[in-house]
Symmetry: C2
Subunit: 467 residues, 2 copies
Amino acid sequence: MSDQPLGVRFALLTDLYQLTMAACYLAEGMAEKATFSLFIRKYPENRGYFVAAGLAEALDYLESLEFTEGDLAYLDSTGLFPPEFLHYLKGVRFTGEVHALPEGTVFFKDEPLLEVTAPIIEAQLVETFLLNAVSLQTLIASKAARSIHAAAGRPVIDFSLRRTQGTDAGLKVARASYLVGFIGTSNVLAGKLYGIPIFGTMAHSYITSFPHEIDAFRVFARTFPGIVTLLIDTYDNLAGARKAAQVARELAARGQKLRFVRLDSGDIAAISREVRAILDEEGFPEVRILASGGFDEFKIAKVLEAGGQVDAFAVGTKMGVAADAPYFDIAYKLVKYGERPIMKLSTGKVTLVDQKQVWRFFDAGGRMVRDVISLRGEQIPGGEPLLKPVMAGGRRLAPLPSLAESRDYCREQLARLPEEYKAIVAPARYPVELSPGLAALQARVQEELRHREIEEAAYHHHELGES
Amino acid sequence: MSDQPLGVRFALLTDLYQLTMAACYLAEGMAEKATFSLFIRKYPENRGYFVAAGLAEALDYLESLEFTEGDLAYLDSTGLFPPEFLHYLKGVRFTGEVHALPEGTVFFKDEPLLEVTAPIIEAQLVETFLLNAVSLQTLIASKAARSIHAAAGRPVIDFSLRRTQGTDAGLKVARASYLVGFIGTSNVLAGKLYGIPIFGTMAHSYITSFPHEIDAFRVFARTFPGIVTLLIDTYDNLAGARKAAQVARELAARGQKLRFVRLDSGDIAAISREVRAILDEEGFPEVRILASGGFDEFKIAKVLEAGGQVDAFAVGTKMGVAADAPYFDIAYKLVKYGERPIMKLSTGKVTLVDQKQVWRFFDAGGRMVRDVISLRGEQIPGGEPLLKPVMAGGRRLAPLPSLAESRDYCREQLARLPEEYKAIVAPARYPVELSPGLAALQARVQEELRHREIEEAAYHHHELGES
């Protein structure tokens, strides 16, 4: 996309308050280390798990974060900032450490998927970008995994680019859906950038630009004999299927073959059965049926339950914007400053204090049974720790796995998650507990906070006493 | 963001089928001009109008579209494309013409907001990017305009960046919401790139990093005396309001002032009344109340109906992802090829044939009354034509209006749209008719299509006769 490192392009892609708070910390000499925890507070309807994604982008950003002269000149032009703060920003780099769930990890609400520890200015400055990057890819990975589950082994392809929320989303949707098991995408740039297989053949406009449908089919078959998929619903699915069979015969005569026909409209369950019968009757049982048009996990499940004879699904807009749950209640919360564990109590949004670890327990068959969230230093015997140290001193500790490796890991993760948590509608709630150490600290800090509120009131009373 | 022209970065940000179709057209020597029409097929629930946005990005892309050597090398590596097609792509530029609704125009379903006429390969190649760009900004502009309406004159600010669907969306949401009347954004990069005013002060983490809330307030007031907004809900809204008043007194003693307090949780209608009473009682009737936290047009309307004393709203995630309708049923359809008007009939998704114009009628007070969609060449007396020629020969005909100019134009557009179409829930349906010329052509082409299907069947029968 560009040879400029990501951070250099995106240092200003942040909320203004990150900069005003940073200036206050600098003015006050507040430079102690802070830990922020990134987690999802609630399950959207019909969601029973999440899939972590976006870490690669987050680390790229952290490693290359830098304000350019142009950025600083812009900030100066706002007239808001003291010169010493702009001078500080010029030299600022991310020097902290990161613990994170590897991309492709299945996780649950309240479990941190990322914890950042750094001098408070740095840890705070990166909040907006980290949330943006991690929330989008995790949102889409978690949504797309449901299509994989619904398709029950049939290949699924991402066709969402035209209606994703922008270009970055178009790329990240292709990446996140591939991560969870899609076989590829229509998005050519995602193919180039991420090495994802690309798919696509023809639109209705192509068919209608020819006087006869079969001529459109024949031209395609001649030009791309290796990937022939014919879109057969432009005029009439069944007539289209017969013409496709004719083209299949012509291909066969040249030692080539028709791979797929594509259905894009109407009652796919019923039409696919009729088209299957025609293709079989015409002698092409090996030609497969690809369905597209408004698919997501709900429609895939419905079509298959209704006996649809569909061999592969192209999933578009509804997956690409996570239409039924287009955002997460995701947060990046201060949990420790210096040696002080921090909690915010207001309005039921209780956060889990301090640096943490997530431990997973499996049954004898290797299936996930329950998780425990602990303090980072605690040992939870029998559990497998999920958060890994991935960055220290602002540098990643090791290269991340390749996307292909993360995809294999994610497949295994999803296989180990029992069916009841993967149900498309009203999945079961996976058990997540707090460790004794975390529960005790959580209770102690809540108690202290209540005392502090009293103390605050006293302090406030004292302060205002003179007014 | 980058010095590379947009098109150079994004030529591959397209669906693979755009390239396979292009290769077929090239192989067949199909180079006639095609017109594609971009329009929205359906109103999402509770939507009564749309606001056009994204044209500037669309034209930037069209003017700079170019495949790089790297792009071509990648396409070559797929093994799909004939060398003569890759050679053709190397030289391809967009040479066509564009008619479009200016950004900020209010429009309705079925009305084209963009029509592209170009040699069919070019017009087809650009489909994916144009849809992506126009659909996101139009989606957000149409959603954000509803917050403006609900806020009834109170300022509204975009706070969505952290949870928009990616970085491009973060920028485009700031731009599109400003276009429709937001006063600014928290997004600093959007401020730099688009000249949008930026807003923001402090988060809860800032407050909790200090031992006492009032110290956090005081440090902010000292560091940014010109923009003091204090977040007062971290521990207790009412105690926070009293502390804010104390800081206001301290500011006043220095000849400075507290501008806003911010409420971010709880029952905003009730809390804002209590906070208002405290601020008034403490002698600060001029200190205003900013509310944030889960706002969109629905919550704004609810809080104001419940008597909330809120002076400004910060609107975040739900606007930034258009949460209640996160995509449009938006399409880019072939409507003319060569001299032939084109229509696709399947499954009720009837498109309007040929090149078109949209005419708007106003009442004596300048309020919108009804629209007529016509053929482009028709004259509709008394109507104002909305689609403007903006590009010819691949070059824009004139500089587009500035964002500030488009914002003024949009304000006027929204003011001329009668209230019943702006209702937050169940708005009335604005009347849109077809002109006599378009209705007649539409009927004729439908009739011809029916005949063609019969002819297709006969052709097909003839073709298959030998098999």
